[in-house]
């Protein structure tokens, strides 16, 4: 497969606390529907475009469902180290993703976990220890683990490097479509039932 096609990688961010745009926002603003932005990442002398989908986990503003999970190359699970429930929910998010995105090899699908907001209250309000988070990641097939602060977004770049690396690995096993030997190109247009607009 020509390498340049892999230059675009689709990443889904899931979790109770959203990773909003460039930074983790302190002030609450809801995200409506799925929102993505692109980010260029350099990995092993090659430039990748990451297409990052963020949902902020609000079902209320997800009226069309989660069809955008499909075709993801990597899934990033985010939790708030100050909120135990957000950590407890990681597993739900992981399973939900695997069901909805139905990747061809769910056992080896690349995930990344990010523990967010480690700087809140100087770390005093932290309730999920790094050890605990790493243990969970290890139990789920050695998921790479990163911690970031709300204000500075430290380690985010490292995370993206790993995301690119892992997504690249999975992308190589992309499903392959083989067309029928019959050329249906012309008939497919007739099948379309839309109006002539």
């Amino acid at each position: 497969m020509p390498s340049r096609r892999r230059a675009l990688l689709k990443v889904i961010i899931l979790g109770d606390s959203g990773y909003v745009n460039k930074k983790f926002s302190n002030q609450y603003k809801a995200t409506i529907g799925a929102d993505f932005l692109t980010k260029e990442v350099q990995f092993e002398d090659r430039l990748f475009t990451l297409q990052i989908w963020d949902t902020a986990g609000q079902e209320r503003f997800q009226s069309l469902g989660v069809a955008f999970y499909r075709g993801a190359d990597c899934c990033v699970l985010v939790y708030d180290v100050n909120v135990m429930k957000s950590f407890d929910n990681l597993n739900n998010w992981r399973e939900e993703f695997l069901i909805q995105a139905s990747p061809s090899d769910p056992e080896n699908f690349p995930f990344v976990v990010i523990g967010n907001k480690i700087d809140v209250d100087g770390g005093n309000s932290r309730v999920v220890s790094e050890k605990k988070a790493r243990a969970w990641c290890a139990s789920k097939g050695n998921i790479p683990y990163f911690e970031t602060s709300a204000k500075e977004g430290t380690n985010v770049e490292d995370a993206f490097q790993v995301i690119a690396k892992n997504a690249l690995k999975s992308g190589e096993e992309e499903e392959i479509y083989l067309p029928d030997t019959v050329d249906v190109a012309s008939s497919s247009q007739q099948r379309s039932t839309g109006c002539e607009c």
């Binding site: 995200t31 932005l37 503003f61 009226s63 069309l64 497919s188």
Partner: protein, 791 residues
């Protein structure tokens, strides 16, 4: 199978659509790998034709759309790379417009357009304007909404925002805002119009589908909120008015409710706070069926959270007069939505009150104002019957109690009782219980008679019969629980100042005396004890103090107590009254008020003679009389003689012989009080004991006659123990030989009646003898005293 259900059909159509996309994608990929622009355009247009379907619901269409979307990203990468296709972006922009069908053509145009902007070969605003105009060509709601949402998505990171690379050279953030607003307006129109398409019978399905599409429209507001350049000024002057204009004008309930919710959720709190008037101003203009109570509740919740995030924000809230703006808006909304059920209005007030309590906990006037508005809404209407509405009123009235943990604060709210007046009798009682529980839980002391007055006015549903409900209809268990709560409540009414405390007692009495025969037995005793506690505090400071204001004196309190206990006669509850009179008598004794004590005894005796008829009740009553009288030391000889004479007389007249016997020997203690100054009349003690022995004999003879055997000897052993008691106390009338005689008598009786051995009395006698033995062996004066008694 020609007839299959719609869902199966849809699955089939979706599968066909996906197959069509996959098929064309295969050839598209080949074309991209071969850098073949013409083929790439051909297959991408064919691929996009799958989106022309009208057969899918929004959910399924979205799945199809996402497949196409993913393929378009690859195409976009290809477009960006001029080296690969050798066509300038400007030419490309022209070229894609040759696609046959309009929908594929516009998807391709948007895709190239995004590359065009990125190339900066034309001002972003021109391209955006062109695209947003061109998209008008698709007027089918679902296809149009998805197309425009595609446009919104691909242009999202190319808007001429502040700090973005697309800003400058005539491209300003206002262009970005203008573009998104226009797209939003067009999308909302498509969305609203959708309801008019399709047959009436499918209305429900159509509404469901419309609802699924809502986030496509709302997405534009999210994009606006993400534009860095939209500062407060632009938001206030352009974004918000324009969005609200569209919301108001579309006159569609679903759109209005959803988009108001979106505004509240996507824009920052500080913007809301600074534009409250504008946002709230739109509310009364919305359709009367829009669920504004949910919308406004969410707004107030956000603002409360915001306020509590930092204490520094409070001045801002005050400066913009957030409370009065919200309060006014709610008033207008309620007015505008004439059909809003009462529960909706009250829910709004509950939200406003919650906001007030969180943001301005010190502003009791605000709280009272909210309650006042509620009263206004409720006035002129019959008492609430809607259970949801009453639940909300209970929530409204409970909120200040929970917040302040202190009923006393709520008591200062003038509108509080007025809201309560609108509750039906049942809910009124529920609320009264909530109030009492709050007091008990927080151990709140209610310390003035004024507050007690307000409090009892609030809980009057528990204190007396309200119109329409008589105590006969009530569930007894609930009634008892309520009245016990009232009784507990009385312990929380207290003031250190005796004068104020007396006022409190008088106030309580004023309220509870109308309680009727079912309530008084619960409410009178705690009030009596409360008054007795006050008496005890005043003990020693007897005597009337000259002056205009007569201070609280024990005498005055005893007069009141007399009245209070007398009220029990309507119940009637003579046994309870008798006990309370005796308590008062003892208190009067402690205050050295002989006539008062005598009066209370007289009352108790009158009740005993006239009202206590049950023989068992008489036994208990007589023991209480003797027990109390035994402790009295205030009486002079004359009064004392009268009372003891009466008491012994009652004792000897009890119905059952054993009861007589026991009461009479108990009377012996009336003549021998083991205090330094206590009366010590040995002869009369002996008389009592002898009399009780005679009764015991008579009891035994009766047993002989009726059962053919002498009864148990317990009474004799009891009397023996009494002899021992006075013997030890040094009563000269009780000698060792008298005791010896009694022991022999019991022994003889026991032997003569071996057939009816009674374990209880045998054991009693044995342990009494063992006691004598123990005393004998003790040595010293006591041992010596016991020495003559032989076992």
């Amino acid at each position: 199978m020609m007839i299959s259900n719609g869902i199966e059909d849809e699955e089939k159509w979706l599968a066909e659509g996906i197959a069509g996309i996959q098929h064309n994608a295969f050839y598209l990929h080949r074309a991209l790998d071969a850098n073949n622009l013409r083929e790439a355009l051909k297959f991408s247009a064919q691929l996009l034709s799958e989106l022309r379907t009208s057969r899918l619901s929004p959910h399924k269409y979205y799945e199809l759309y996402m497949r196409a979307f993913d393929e378009l990203r690859r195409l976009e990468m290809f477009f960006k790379d001029e080296d690969r296709h050798g066509c300038s972006v400007v030419d490309l922009y022209e070229l894609v417009q040759h696609a046959g069908n309009i929908l594929p053509r516009l998807y391709l145009l948007c895709t190239v357009g995004s590359v065009y902007i990125k190339s900066k070969e034309a001002p972003a605003k021109d391209v955006l304007k062109d695209l947003v105009e061109m998209c008008r060509a698709v007027q089918h709601p679902i296809r149009g909404l998805f197309l425009r949402s595609y446009l919104a998505q691909v242009s999202r990171d190319k808007l001429p925002d502040i700090g973005s690379e697309y800003e400058g050279e005539g491209d300003t953030v206002m262009d970005a805002v203008e573009f998104v607003l226009q797209n939003f307006t067009e999308m909302n129109k498509l969305w609203v119009r959708m309801q008019h398409q399709g047959p009436l019978r499918e209305k429900e399905k159509l509404e469901k589908e419309r609802n699924e599409l809502r986030d496509l429209v709302g997405k534009n507001l999210h994009v606006l909120s993400q534009i860095e350049g939209v500062d407060l000024e632009i938001y206030r002057d352009t974004v918000l008015p324009r969005v609200l204009e569209q919301i108001v004008n579309c006159k569609d309930e679903l759109a209005q409710y959803y988009l108001m919710d979106c505004i509240i959720q996507v824009f920052p709190d500080e913007y809301h706070l600074q534009t409250l008037e504008i946002l709230l101003g739109a509310c009364p203009q919305l359709q009367p069926t829009v669920d504004l109570k949910t919308v406004l509740s969410q707004l107030m919740e956000r603002l409360s959270n915001y306020a509590s995030s930092s204490p520094e924000l409070l001045p801002e809230f005050l400066q913009v007069e957030a409370f009065s703006k919200l309060s006014n808006a709610i008033g207008k909304v309620i007015e505008a939505q004439a059909d809003m059920p009462i529960v909706g209005a009250i829910t709004l007030y509950v939200s406003l009150l919650t906001f007030t309590l969180r943001v301005h906990p010190d502003r009791l006037d605000y709280v009272d104002q909210v309650l006042g508005a509620c009263v206004k809404k409720l006035s002129g209407k019959p008492k609430l019957e809607d259970s949801k509405a009453t639940k909300q009123v209970v929530a409204l009235l409970s909120a200040p109690l929970d917040k302040y943990d202190d009923i006393v604060t709520a008591l200062t709210l003038s509108n509080y009782p007025r809201v309560m007046d609108h509750l039906d009798a049942g809910t009124n009682k529920v609320m009264a219980m909530v109030i009492i529980r709050s007091i008990m839980k927080n151990k709140t002391c209610v310390s003035t008679s004024d507050k007690v007055e307000v409090l009892f006015e609030l809980i009057k549903g528990l204190i007396k019969d309200l119109e329409g409900i008589s105590t006969d209809e009530l569930d007894e268990e609930d009634f008892n629980e309520e009245q016990n709560s009232v009784a507990c409540l009385m312990h929380m009414l207290y003031n250190d100042d005796p004068e104020e405390m007396l006022q409190i007692i008088c106030t309580v009495w004023k309220h509870i005396k109308a309680g009727g025969p079912k309530r008084l037995p619960f409410t009178v005793p705690p009030l009596v004890f409360s008054a007795l506690k006050l008496v005890r505090r005043l003990q020693g400071q007897d005597g009337d103090v000259a002056g205009e204001e007569v201070p609280a004196t024990p005498k005055k309190i005893f007069q009141l107590l007399n009245q209070i206990i007398e009220a029990l006669s309507v119940v009637p509850s003579p046994e309870l009254a008798l006990r309370l009179y005796l308590q008062c008598a003892e208190a009067a004794n402690d205050c050295d008020l002989e006539p008062v004590a005598y009066e209370f005894f007289t009352q108790a005796f009158v009740l005993y003679e006239e009202e206590v008829a049950d023989s068992k009740a008489q036994v208990t009553a007589i023991h209480l009389i003797i027990g109390t009288l035994q402790r009295m030391n205030v009486f002079g000889v004359e009064n004392r003689d009268t009372l003891t004479h009466k008491a012994t007389g009652y004792s000897a007249k009890l119905l059952k012989k054993p009861d007589q016997c026991r009461a009479v020997y108990a009377c012996s203690h009336l003549f021998w009080v083991d205090d330094q100054d206590g009366i010590k009349d040995g002869e009369r003690v002996l008389l009592c004991l002898k009399r009780s022995l005679r009764i015991a004999n008579a009891a035994q003879q009766m047993a002989n006659v009726t059962r053919g055997s002498s009864g148990p000897l317990t009474l004799f052993v009891e009397i023996l123990n009494k002899y021992l008691y006075f013997f030890e106390k040094g009563n000269p009338q009780i000698t060792s030989s008298v005791i010896q005689g009694l022991i022999e008598l019991i022994k003889t009786e026991m032997q003569s009646d071996s057939t009816t051995a009674n374990h209880a009395s045998d054991a009693f006698f044995t342990s009494t003898l063992r006691y004598i033995q123990f005393q004998k062996q003790k040595g010293g004066a006591m041992g010596e005293k016991y020495d003559p008694i032989k076992l």
